[in-house]
């Protein structure tokens, strides 16, 4: 397992074998993959839907802070993305 450190300039993208989708019946975003599903909580869903391979971690953090009218989310975003990379939901583009 390669542990790419996540920094403000990293550009996270959803791994191609996952599909992120809003499910009204579950009131949640889910990650769909062959014969399986991961139900995400609200913050995980908000982060992952911004992981398009274009936006940097800093961009994503700013967007979330703006959307939720708060500050100081950087550590939470990095921590979540580290887990997501570890679980191979997300890959990080340099």
């Amino acid at each position: 397992m390669t542990a790419t450190p996540i920094t403000g300039t990293s550009k996270p993208a959803l791994e191609r074998r996952f599909r992120l989708q809003w499910e009204a019946a579950q009131n949640a975003h889910v990650l769909l993959y062959p014969e399986g599903m991961i139900k995400l909580n609200a913050s995980a869903g908000e982060i992952l839907k911004r992981c398009d391979g274009q936006a940097s971690v800093a961009d994503i953090t700013r967007a979330l802070e703006s959307a939720f009218e708060t500050t100081g989310l950087a550590n939470d975003v990095v921590a979540f993305l580290s887990m997501a990379v570890d679980k191979q939901w997300v890959r990080v583009l340099p």
Partner: protein, 407 residues
């Protein structure tokens, strides 16, 4: 928005392995959505596998649903919150309206898994399915060697499957290779995994046979010995450590060798809904064997009513049906008492604890079955050395054998 919440708020359901039970599924007064919809589009199949879970009386099944019925089932189930869709059979490619069904499922937002032997999947067909929005193809293999693959499925398909595996990669699908393990191929696990690696499979399911339908018919002949299972698990583990790319390998241990039952279907009526070729709705693909139910049919009852109100789905939902030792067992929220079909097949009462559990008063039925299989394996080895006859031959899945077994 805290880090802990982001990490802990994730739950996973997964058909390959028993992962977390969905919270609240156990005693919820109103059920959650049927998250997983399995459509068995047809019982027609070019293969004749000895371990098929289809009912042995499939030849007496009523006429298949038409295209419009399947599309209506998709719309009704999606409205209830179904999201993972399995298209299976029999061989789903035997339906020439498969592309129409896939296109509608895609439009509705399903994640669509095609579960296939690969027979009938040529280049124009896979292109059409891709265009229609198919998300993934699970290809079954009987073994890594041509001889064993063709023998166990009673047909000549190995080369064809190899070509299909190449097509799956060519069309940029993630590939799940499914190999059902049993006494005759479990010693080939290393070759099977090497083959999967060559094909570029992303997921490999080494699924030990579950004994329902045709597999139940052939149980004594198919069950591996404990020694075979331990060796296969060790080989799998060594392979995991040396494989050089992302490849998830699920080794599903046969539950007869366990001391606790599998959390079958997360409890009946919890997340799974199966529709058989003739439109019968079942809480799991083997449940038609359970006595005392008038299983509803999607031709005459809306899917929502079936899911919420029919006794086929409400009876085993939650834990009110349980007897001892399950009723007072702290583990009932983890395994839901195991498999109702297995309890019925082995003990004659579907409300009993799954006899795989060593707390069940019927657990001896499982250990005796394993012992019988070990003796049979010894006999088969002797027969191979031509010193003794085999008592029971394998019964291949076919319309003729179906009619013979169910006169």
């Amino acid at each position: 928005m805290g880090q802990g919440a982001a990490v802990n708020g994730v739950s996973e359901m997964n058909a390959h392995a028993a992962v977390d039970a969905l919270p609240g599924a156990m005693t919820a007064p109103t059920p959650g959505p049927p998250l997983w919809l399995l459509l068995e589009l047809t019982y027609r199949c070019p293969l004749h596998c000895v371990f098929c879970y289809n009912p042995t009386d499939f030849a007496r099944s009523g006429p298949e649903l038409g295209t419009e019925d399947w599309l209506r089932v998709l719309r009704e189930a999606r409205a209830l919150g179904a999201v993972q869709l399995g298209l299976s059979g029999g061989e789903p490619l035997a339906r020439d309206d498969l592309e129409i069904i896939v296109a509608e499922a895609h439009r509705l937002g399903f994640y669509i898994n095609l579960i296939t032997s690969g027979v009938g999947l040529d280049q124009p067909r896979i292109a059409a399915l891709k265009e229609a929005g198919l998300d993934h193809i699970q290809l079954s293999f009987q073994d890594s060697s041509r001889q064993m693959n063709d023998f166990l499925s009673s047909t000549r398909t190995f080369d064809l499957k190899s070509r299909v595996a190449a097509l799956i990669k060519q069309y940029d699908y993630p590939m799940v290779l499914n190999v059902v393990l049993h006494r005759y191929n479990i010693d080939h696990v290393e070759e099977i995994l090497n083959m999967a690696d060559q094909f570029g499979a992303e997921y490999v399911e080494l699924a030990n046979t579950q004994y329902y339908g045709w597999a139940w018919q052939n149980r004594e002949q198919l069950m591996p010995t404990r020694q075979q299972i331990e060796r296969a698990e060790a080989v799998t583990q060594r392979f995991r450590e040396r494989v050089g790319r992302p490849m998830k390998i699920y080794f599903v241990v046969p539950d007869y060798f366990e001391r606790r039952p599998k959390p079958c279907m997360n409890g009946l009526g919890s997340i799974f809904l199966t529709v058989t070729p003739d439109g019968t709705a079942l809480p799991c693909h083997a449940a038609r064997m359970l006595p005392g139910f008038d299983f509803p049919n999607v031709r005459t009852m809306p899917v929502a009513t079936i899911w919420r109100e029919s006794s086929a789905f409400t009876h085993f939902r939650g834990d009110g049906w349980m007897k001892e030792p399950c009723r007072s067992c702290p583990e009932k929220t983890r395994d839901f008492g195991g498999c109702r079909c297995q309890a019925y097949l082995m003990t004659g009462d579907a409300a009993n604890a799954d006899p795989v559990c060593d707390l069940s008063p019927h657990h001896h039925l499982v250990t005796e079955a394993v012992a019988r299989a070990e003796r049979h394996a010894g006999q088969a080895a002797a027969a191979a050395a031509q010193v003794a006859p085999v008592e029971k031959p394998l019964v291949f899945r076919s319309p003729a054998n179906s009619a013979r077994l169910n006169p």
